[in-house]
Symmetry: C2
Subunit: 725 residues, 2 copies
């Protein structure tokens, strides 16, 4: 069995090797013209500036928490250990590193995708997806390498027998906590950054007449493009890193209880190792899957991505079947419940399928041309108010089916394999994170590629190709968001179950969290309220940050004469293609662009995001600690249940409403007909749809996704402090 | 003790006598000019038409459910009784009757308030408040009379000793179920009606250029005014009727368990009778309070209403102290917990105070001139999108404090007097419903009075006076909504506790609803999702109904030539007061008004409301029944907990966001200054605020308040079927 223990980190290294190979391949591609290079460079510098600023703050936070963890470990070495601090730091560093790798390659791949699209659609897809797969495999590689190494080291030092494994697991939970901490700030900070820049850039056009939204003359443009990387690449990556790690650790904790059973005497670590082996398998299947993503000119990028994911899923199922046969006994019973290896396999399959199902349900509610989105388009004809009401309605109704899928998965996997079944279902959902995240991260890279094509004024067919890539990216982004929420819910439950198990093991008592106990009810209410408060904080943060962005743009147009002159030149040549401008005007325009202080806008977004992420971040960490220490384990349990339920619901509501508004706007722009009237840009319906889209932006890219982290983080904090309360 | 049993319904009769006296006083007041009378008549006819249509559908529903209840009672006479059907019918009839009485007097009081305001502010207030107090005392009178009579009859027939009281209580829970059923349809149907008419009338101006929103030329105007009565008078009345009755019954069930204790040998029914006696006391204090509501010209109506409420509250507290000394022993212990009469008194005081606190917190987040509302005003300057984002943010953040108050009340009252403490806190909060509802119902009456003043083109000072009354009405409405949500939460908990107690008593087992049990978790998720689904249904219903209203108004302007001519006349005299019009134009205008088919619009709203209330209504009744019978009592418990938590949060979020948007619009209309720029009607900020207000309308008047009912109804259904699952 110890051989398997060594095998796990090796698969992490394989993934990182793949990452390195694809990353240098991307680096070798041609970044195109000088203008393209310059724009891309601006974006890359801005993105790295944000990461640097963010990680500086995080370093302080991580050190403080690590000291605290070490202190608590020294105080109660019986149930706890100062080594938790080490795991915590390793987890935080791995997560941060994954974000760094992903951002670096994404900001290289964007411009190369644009350049690839100058040759063909297939070239563009190849580069964009290569960039995405670096993020995907980087996340799973670092996750598995970090976890596997910690288990190997602490397992060897302390022991991997039934008596020692609990101690080892207590230490390793710190890894998950570290990952969660980084994820929290990456998602919240990144989300605030991206939407402050986006909303700010959009609104500038409104308050200062004539400044276009996505145009080099708008000083907030670069910040807007940086935001795509900061939010959708690094933020999403940290989110899934956390789910990935959390679900594995939760399952390991639950699996460790089987070690005392006679059926496990030949393979004592079976229940603990299974999630790690599934993750290793997922790395293999993801890598194979990435090779199948290719498309010819005129082909469908969507189909290509689907083939990669389906093959990876099939490999995972077959492999899981074989692995389970090796590491689990055929049948066993624990705590009055019958288990079977086939039941565990069933749970894994359920997890995988329900992840896909939630993704497709999300697509139904948010995709272009679907009934709910058409409904929003129709309501846009009567103005912004009906557009908003319709979008809110779609967001609310879209919670029903995913919740039913989730509830069914919980019931069925519990029926099949108890609490362990629920946790391993989460692992099943997440084991293909490698390719799933590759597909997700492909989206913002294509989006950036389109922006660069626009700003560099390339031929229209380039923009058409990047648009085609981007359109698919929007769909995969929506699916990915649904998937992230579903996996967060199951991960939180796995961690919750691990919390209960750990508390009971360390206290030698039964933890009864009764819904009819008024203390639990009060905690349920407070827990349920936190996602609302958390969302409000992040939405308000976006509002404030967007306002400072507007102020900055106003200042630039007031104080930089060249910029104003550039705008005048543009207005003089209203509607004309730049080729038809007079030479003088072109010179004025080029001068304006060279004078625009893009960096100032990047700085404002960065500062605002860092400042604004503190309050919600502290709320998320402090709430479970305070309730746990002052209210006890029952109240903490109630708090977690409340946060998880409302958090998942609000996340679905906000993400889907935002996605639906976005695509309703797209449909109108593409000229959808309502009652025989062709809609399009400039119509009243379009104005209404723009309002909906702007409201949806912080919903789907800031407050919605941040909730995933909130619920996982609070569960993980509970797990870490379980032995102390 | 039997003497007290007879006393209870007598206080109900006293309240009804007061109702009758005030109602006929209102009827004797002068309804003013012929135009006023005609408009008021249109509103009254429309309101009654809606009630008739609604009650017709409800009658079918009530008969079906009653048959079902009787059948289930015959099948299992041991734990159940066919007599539940009788209580159910009596509850439904009492609630319906209360709605009828309230609507009748409100549609009389509105025009008389207008006429009173022609004399003085005080006259207007007197009549509007008299109308409101008929609704308030009607609700509590019918509630107490119905409950008291059922207890008297069934208590005499079956017995009021410890062995029989459980049976009696099982039968009486039907009363609460009946009240809830009516409330559901009154709130949902009324909510859809009022907002379909309101949004429809507002939007007409957008799609058909030039048609004013609140003007006799708009055929939807009367429907809009009917809506105020249907939603804010009848809907709110049924809502509080349900809370009032539900909290009393829940407490009675919990109090019945004390009867076996030796400390209760002298006053065995003490715990059962206490909520009824508090309610009786509340009738006395409410009546006294109403006499103190009076204002002189130039005085503050708000202050007058406050004095009434404060005095009523003080009387209640003093009276409660005395009553508790009479009907409860000084100390007793039950189920391992110590109780004291002072603990019970403390719980009552806590309930009363926290109800007021939640009301004032609501005012802070929604009131004119408060910081959150000013925030929305500021964000309106940059357009609709930022207005919407700001409003959603205020709605979300406004959930925090009320939840903390609620959670503290739950914890403290449980600490003071166990589950009984939580239930009696709900009774404490609700025992002054008489005057509380009088103040609430005063709002829509004043609103209507203002509309009638406008439509009858009375002197400007009349409108100024009704505006002053109306402004106070908006504040009291917001406070009332917060109060309704808070009381719904506590009532649901009281019913939930009663459900558990009843299940355990009839099954002779302990009901353990563990948050860590995956069945409970799955049910929590599904339960938490239902308020989202329910809200989506009602919002979509409003959207659809508003659209048919727009179609109808378009049709009238197309097919009724006089109406079009009237509009032309108005446009010809753009801005001129009607006195300055030419005689010909005035004739055209009068002709137009006489040709407008107001009734058609009323009919459309009515039909839409009735049709659209079915789906959410069935959802609310069917969900607990299905989960209870197929999933068992644990899952039903999880479902209830999920519904209650998310329901309360979504209700707060929606009501407060809606209220804040409404008042942000008002502040802009009143010329609030932002950055030295004076806002006002016609500014961009005002347009943005109108969008926010229109979005907020279904939030605060349809989907938000309907959730109160959802959570109470589902708890009451659980209580009714507790013995059967």
């Amino acid at each position: 069995m110890n051989a398997l223990l060594v095998l796990v980190p090796i698969f992490g290294i394989i993934a990182l090797g793949f990452t390195f190979w694809r990353s240098s391949w991307v680096g070798k591609q041609d970044p195109g013209t000088d203008t393209m290079k310059k724009i891309a460079d601006n974006i890359a510098v801005g993105a790295m500036a944000f990461l640097r600023a963010e990680y500086k703050v995080l370093a302080i936070f991580v050190v403080c928490i690590a000291v605290l963890l070490a202190f608590m470990g020294f105080r109660d070495p019986e149930n706890n250990s100062p080594l938790v601090a080490i795991s915590f730091i390793v987890g935080a560093v791995c997560s941060a590193l994954a974000g760094f790798i992903g951002m670096r390659v994404a900001t290289k791949a964007n411009v190369r995708t644009t350049n690839g699209a100058r040759t063909s659609l297939g070239e563009g897809l190849k580069i964009a997806f290569a960039g995405g797969s670096v993020m995907g495999l980087g996340v799973v590689g670092l996750g598995l390498l970090g976890l596997g190494t910690l288990l190997l080291i602490f397992g060897n030092a302390i022991g991997t027998d039934a008596d020692s494994i609990g101690k080892v697991m207590t230490i390793i939970t710190g890894f998950s906590f570290g990952a969660s901490s980084i994820a929290l700030f990456a998602r919240v900070g990144g989300g605030i950054y991206t939407k402050a820049a986006d909303v700010g850039a959009d609104l500038v056009g409104k308050v200062e007449a004539g400044i276009p939204e996505d145009h080099p003359l708008n000083p907030a443009t670069i910040a807007d493009n940086v935001g795509d990387n900061v939010g959708d690449v690094a933020g999403m990556g940290a989110d899934l890193f956390e789910s990935y790690v959390g679900s594995i650790i939760g399952t390991m904790v639950l699996g460790s209880v089987f070690m005392v059973l006679p059926e496990f005497s030949d393979l004592p670590l079976g229940g603990v190792l299974l999630p790690l082996l599934l993750a290793a398998l997922g790395i293999v299947s993801s890598i194979i899957g990435t090779f199948l993503v290719r498309v010819k000119e005129g082909g469908s990028p969507h189909r290509a991505l689907n083939i990669g994911e389906i093959v990876a899923g099939a490999i995972l199922l077959i492999g899981a079947f074989i692995i389970i046969g090796q590491v689990l006994p055929e049948k066993w019973s624990f705590d009055g419940k019958e288990f079977s290896s086939m039941g565990v396999f069933g749970s894994i399959a359920l997890g995988l399928i329900s992840g896909i199902a939630i993704g497709y349900i999300t697509e139904h509610y948010t995709g272009t041309g679907t009934k709910p989105v058409i409904g929003i388009v129709r309501q846009s004809v009567t103005g912004s108010a009906t557009n908003i009401i319709a979008g809110l309605g779609v967001g609310m109704i879209s919670t029903a089916l995913p919740i039913i899928v989730l509830a069914s998965t919980i019931l069925a996997s519990y029926h099949l394999a108890g609490l362990y079944g629920i946790a391993i279902a989460a692992v099943g959902m997440l084991s293909n994170t490698g390719i799933q995240l590759a597909v997700d991260a492909y989206g913002p890279i294509s989006d950036n590629a389109g922006g660069i094509a626009e700003m560099s004024e390339l031929e229209p067919e380039v923009r058409q190709r990047t648009d085609k890539l981007d359109a698919v990216g929007n769909t995969t982004a929506a699916i990915g968001k649904g998937f992230a929420i579903g996996s967060a819910a199951l991960t939180a439950l796995a961690l919750f179950a691990a919390f209960k198990t750990t508390w009971e093991a360390t206290h030698d008592a039964t933890l009864s969290i009764e819904v009819t106990d008024p203390k639990v009810v009060a905690a349920l209410f407070v827990g349920g309220m936190l996602p609302f408060l958390f969302s409000a904080f992040s939405m308000e943060a976006v509002g404030r940050a967007a306002m400072s962005m507007i102020e900055e743009v106003r200042r630039q147009f007031r104080e930089i004469p060249g910029l104003k002159a550039g705008l005048d030149a543009m207005n003089r040549n209203d509607g004309k293609s730049m080729g038809d401008w007079s030479d003088d005007d072109r010179k004025v325009f080029d001068q304006a662009i060279s004078e625009a202080e893009y960096g100032k806008c990047v700085e404002i977004s960065t500062k605002a995001a860092i400042r604004e992420m503190i309050k919600p971040g502290l709320l998320a960490v402090a709430a479970p600690v305070l309730v746990g220490f002052f209210g006890g384990a029952e109240m903490l349990g109630g708090l977690l249940a409340g946060v998880t339920v409302t958090g998942v619901l609000l996340a679905l509501f906000q993400s889907n409403a935002g996605g639906a508004w976005d695509n309703a706007k797209k449909m109108i722009e593409e000229g959808y007909e309502v009652n025989g009237e062709k809609l399009g840009k400039g119509t009243e319906a379009h104005k209404a749809a723009v309002v909906g889209d702007t409201v949806g932006d912080p919903f789907k890219d800031t407050s919605g996704p941040s909730l995933n982290i909130l619920l996982k983080l609070m569960s993980v904090v509970a797990l870490v402090i379980a032995s102390m309360i």
